[in-house]
Amino acid sequence: MSTTQDRLPKQQFPDWYDAERAAAVVDAYNTGSGSSQPADPFVAQSILPAATGGLRDFSYIAPELPEFNASNCVGCMDCVNNCPDTAILGKAVTEETLEAELAKVSDEVHRDHLREQFAETVKYHKAFQKKHEKDPANNPPGAKFGIFIDPTKCKGCGECVDVCGDHDALKMIKKTPENLPTYLSDFGFYRSLPATPVTYINKKDKRDIMLKPSAIKLYAGGAGSCMGCGEASVIRQVLAMTHELVGDRFGLVASTGCNTVYGSTYPYNPYNVPWTNSLFENGPADAMGIRAFWDQNGNTDWVLWNMGGDGAMMDIGFQSLSRAIASGMNIKFLVLDTQVYSNTGGQQSTSSYTGQESKMGAHGKAQAGKVERRKELAQILLMHPNVYVGQTIGSMTTHFFKVVQRAIEYPGPAVVIVYTTCQPEHGVGDAFAARQARNAVKSRAFPLIIYDPEAGPTFQQRISLDGNPSPTRDWVVEKDANGNEVPYTFLSWALTEGRFKKHFDKDGNPLTPGIQAAMQDRLENWRLLQQLAGIENVDFAAELAANKAKTA
């Protein structure tokens, strides 16, 4: 059994950083003797040692773990990107290296088992091998690709299985006292392998950034977030892309919210990135101070992120955000939009949808959930001068990474608003962060938006709704089992979420005027965006023509 000291990230610590003390504190908490520790110099300075979350052992939590079927894996990296806990990781390794490492495993049965964890995918093997066979001198051979689960980080949410979907390379299995050691041993083997050679990392496919140790280490896992948390995977992806573009030259200001609670529960800190926490309402002001200080010291190329939830950014800290972006300072903002105050117990926010049930927005006789319409932060912000605004979801990785990359590269303030599923407050399964986010886009609950002030001289050139399905229609139209056309509306999506369930009967029929109002709100919002983008809506045009004919 390795000690905490052995497992500390292999890095040079600054002079002030007491690595031994950090290890002692974590060991004390891991063994339940935290209260017997002497007064802590870290606490005295409001400092959390970096990446101590990586030392947290969650292996007692998950009742089930993902099982990898290498023969079906395509190496898409969706599982790795969508894991909120850095609990599932991938690695490409040459056959030569793999066999050399396997030769060190003395037990033949275990060696065969480890070998079976590696796939010959088209992406990492066949595509390379084909070129290699034609010109061995200039092309590396195909590599084997493996997916490994860290059972000390996996909470058993099943998100990886859901996003793997019909690739059918992952399934959940029951954790038992017998298979847990195998997972630990397999993950140990993963760690013993050298890093994925750069040549196998697909430059076109941004998901592959997560093959780089430098990207993985940024968020060590071990955070206290809920199973399947939609925020944490998005944070991991943002950190990875930022590091990809600027290396270590970046930092985070976290506005208080869920992200700070699960990200800074002493002594566990998942971040291996400079991170500071301010209050709900003044993260942007704090970030302005840091930006000014960095700029005064010549660090104008350092990237500064301020992230917060919808409570921090749309409500209590909205003025501060507006002020910061109006300043023109080069700060990047990440809004983790759960449409509810997840951190403080699920109170209604201005981002909540009409009809959504929450605390302060209860569903009863007097009112059916939230009465007001949702505030659209993206639309408000893009009317500020020279601000890049992207509204996206983490599971549409191409759109997401495009938005994040451009936000970082944009020479001024940029805001990235991401729909982040909150399982307990939305009332959805723990495996459904990606699925519900995709369906939120499909149902017009959360349209994708890019507003880039440098994209052209006209407003319509600067705004893009690319990525939204059926962009010229009111709703996406599908057919039911009987062949009848059925629009996939806001109601179709709302029916799958517990926060709206009281609006429907047992057969899924909408019962209340409130949920109809919610659908109308989403339709009007979508039509407004279409008009702003210069997209003609054929359904709306037909509706207007019919109304005109009626009144003529």
Binding site: N72, A127, K174, T176, D507, G508
Partner: protein, 286 residues
């Protein structure tokens, strides 16, 4: 005995028919196309007309594998054709080439527009053919046992199960043979029990019957404990989605979790029962 030309032709025709059969456009594939190439579902014809041919090998595989990955049920007709025989690597390659030359078009059904034809590439054909277990035969003794012991209506599924590469390992095959003999003697040999056994052997990797018994007991104990401890916040499950409709319907997450564990228990219980008897262990008292 090797695979006959007639069997090869039958396999080819079966694969051609399967790949030509209209099927719903896979939602995961549509999501990839929309996200990676900015063609929404209503633009799928344009995608196939203008972009499809330019996909690199990895993109072809990642985007379309969900469409061309056969399920276990899909393997049954092939197992029936091949019985205990296996295709060689060359025969597999030739089959893919033959299918390529057949210019198959797979009609993808979309809800709101006419079907779109997807011409599967060699990458897709290899994906489909490679996951039908055509290159894994059945050990001769095991095959004879199957024919003697297994009810006729269970044989197609049993043939497909026993083609699993798992049973190329002698110690796994040995456990299977003993379990089949015991179930036959009891008059309860069913493919579903052997499928549950195969899943368990693959996942928990016991080395012999005694270890299998110990692991099954441990598995059951864990399931029963988790079932007893299930609470409102303890679990995720697919059923949650369906459970949310209904204004007076209270979602009981604990109940869903309990039912899930019961499903796991019910699946493995027949395996535990037979292995317990094989190991000479007494049945637990109520």
């Amino acid at each position: 005995m090797s695979v006959t030309q007639q069997q090869l032709d039958q396999i080819f025709e079966q694969a051609k028919a399967d790949l030509s059969r209209p099927r719903p456009a896979n939602e995961q594939t549509l999501a990839y196309i929309a996200d990676q190439f900015s063609f929404t579902r209503d633009q799928l014809p344009q995608f196939f007309a203008t972009r499809y041919a330019e996909l690199d090998m990895a993109e072809q595989d990642i985007v379309f594998s969900p469409q061309f990955t056969p399920k276990f049920e899909d393997t049954l007709p092939y197992a029936t054709i091949l019985q205990d025989q296996a295709l060689t690597r060359d025969q597999m390659n030739q089959l893919v080439e033959r299918l390529e030359q057949a210019n198959i078009k797979t009609p993808l059904l979309l809800d709101d527009q006419p079907p779109v034809e997807c011409p599967p590439t060699d990458i897709h054909l290899e994906r489909f053919i490679g996951r039908l277990s055509l290159d894994a035969g059945i050990d001769a003794t095991l095959y004879a046992q199957l024919q003697q012991q297994c009810p006729a209506d269970e044989q197609p599924m049993m043939l497909a199960i026993l083609r699993d590469a798992l049973y190329t390992k002698a110690h796994k095959r040995d456990m299977l043979v003993q379990v089949m003999n015991q179930l036959h003697a009891d008059g309860t040999l069913r493919a579903a029990t052997i499928l549950a056994l195969s899943d368990f052997l693959r996942t928990y990797r016991p080395n012999d019957l005694a270890e299998l018994y110990q692991q099954l007991e441990s598995y059951m104990k864990t399931c029963i404990e988790d079932q007893a401890n299930a609470n409102d916040e303890s679990f995720h499950h697919e059923q949650l989605k369906a459970e949310y409709a209904g204004s007076d319907h209270v979602v009981d997450r604990a109940k869903i979790a309990q039912n899930h564990y019961q499903d796991l228990i019910d699946k493995v219980q027949p395996v535990l029962d037979v292995v317990r008897r094989l190991c000479g262990e007494p049945a637990p008292t109520a």
